[in-house]
């Protein structure tokens, strides 16, 4: 039985279908809630994980399975990956709503994270941070990158995704990943130089 048929059985309330759904996917949902909290360094009590687990399942079944009905296996995506995304979305949204007043990786008004400012004692970075005009000029260099390269910066540099994990995600070889990184760095160094910021 494919995923779509399986979901149809659930939403049409075939006997035992919802129980099968839980037997197959409850642990996945539960462990991802736990994983998101642990990764974010937030201590989630068992009660909180249980509450969010029920909140997610409730969101799937409420209004006659309205949410679960939206799964249509579009472009052949699997139910497991979709549920993982539903779980990650819900957990992050709850974390966002319940975050403490000051978070270390929360962006400040100027757009720089506090953690970056606190941990950074290198003079060149400070010089750039303090020079708003230079920053704006250098930011224009991002426009010379194509969408793949911008996406690479977002994941690898901004979000610290390891090159090996990126290789798997992008489905390319390790050497292709290394080449992509070198190409981006070379392009930006060249552009920065033209804008008056010399990078040795």
């Amino acid at each position: 039985m494919d995923d779509l048929q399986f979901v149809q059985n659930c939403v049409n309330q075939h006997p035992g279908a919802w129980e099968q759904f839980l037997d197959k996917y409850a642990r996945l949902i539960y462990s991802y809630i736990h994983g998101v909290f642990r990764y974010k360094g937030r201590n989630a009590s068992l009660d909180t994980v249980n509450d969010i687990f029920q909140h997610i399942l409730y969101s799937l079944v409420k209004d006659n399975f309205k949410k679960l009905r939206t799964f249509s296996a579009r472009n052949g995506c699997s139910l497991a990956t979709w549920l993982r995304q539903v779980t990650i979305h819900a957990s992050i949204d709850i974390l966002r709503q319940s975050k403490p007043a000051i978070s270390l990786d929360e962006e400040s008004e100027e757009g720089f994270s506090l953690i970056e400012k606190l941990s950074d004692d290198s003079i060149p970075v400070r010089e750039i941070l303090d020079n708003e005009e230079l920053m704006k000029r250098l930011a224009e260099c991002i426009n010379i990158l194509d969408e793949d390269e911008k996406y690479f910066i977002e994941l690898h540099i901004r979000r610290n995704i390891a090159l090996e994990d990126l290789r798997v995600h992008l489905g390319i070889s390790r050497s292709a990943i290394d080449m992509r990184k070198s190409r981006i760095v070379a392009k930006l160094k060249e552009c920065f130089k033209k804008k008056g910021f010399w990078v040795r």
């Binding site: 995304q85 957990s91 970056e116 930011a139 994941l155 540099i157 995704i161």
Partner: protein
């Protein structure tokens, strides 16, 4: 210059670029992201999603989690939680109910549990969030909201600074937020009707409610539309 310092500079500059860039407000839905992560999106859609992710912090955070979170596969869902989950579709089939359990203190109402969303500041917060924030004490009043099949019900419990409370029930059309006419709102204790109002304005207020366990039924012309179980303890 060391690589990590240069990376940091790129990251910082990228943030400035992102901030000055117009945001794409059409976020891909969970199914689009799932197909993208599995490498199954058509190339045009794949490029559109990548382009969105390169500019949208909110959506990029979901991808980050997908790539970084390593779930503990040994975790087991507690038996009782699993049992409740299995009963969820059944509970949905019935009218459903809103449960609200409170402890009345001198000037405070302590929220013990609820199946609705609770007003904190300007926003209604789902109960799991409330618990994770350890919010339980409310000064003066507690306002709880829940959507039923056709109506949205808001319950306001106000502390009368003694052993009594005022309970206001407001019901609106779930989709249009308009007042639902011809509603009957009834307060019962141990199955006995206490007070009942034909609430043409869509709301009813019950004053001097003593400690105890109550049921509030909201009915339309032909059928029951919502039930509220309210318990106020000392």
């Amino acid at each position: 210059m060391k690589d990590n310092v240069f990376n940091k500079i790129i990251g910082t500059i990228y943030q400035v670029w992102e901030k000055n860039h117009e945001r794409d407000v059409l976020h891909p839905d969970e199914e689009a992201i799932a197909a993208f992560l599995e490498g199954k999106s058509p190339s045009e859609e794949r490029m559109r999603i990548k382009s969105h992710l390169a500019r949208c912090q909110e959506c990029a955070a979901y991808i980050e989690m997908h790539l970084k979170v390593k779930p503990d596969e040994n975790l087991i869902v507690p038996v009782e939680i699993m049992r409740q989950a299995k009963e969820m579709p059944l509970a949905q089939q019935s009218t459903g109910f809103l449960e609200l359990i409170l402890v009345l203190k001198e000037k405070i109402l302590e929220l013990i549990s609820t199946t609705g969303d609770v007003l904190v500041g300007q926003e209604f917060i789902p109960s799991p969030v409330l618990r994770s924030r350890s919010i339980k004490d409310f000064e003066g009043k507690v306002i709880v909201l829940k959507d039923f099949k056709e109506i949205r019900v808001e319950i306001r419990v106000e502390n009368e600074q003694g052993s009594a409370s005022t309970v206001t029930v407001i019901a609106k059309n779930k989709l249009t937020q308009e007042i639902v006419r011809n509603l009957r709102i009834t307060l019962l204790k141990e199955g006995i009707e206490f007070e009942s109002y034909l609430a043409d304005s869509g709301q009813a207020t019950f004053q001097h409610i003593e400690l105890g366990k109550y049921t509030i039924e909201i009915s339309g012309v032909e059928e029951k539309m919502a039930s509220v179980i309210l318990e106020i303890k000392k």
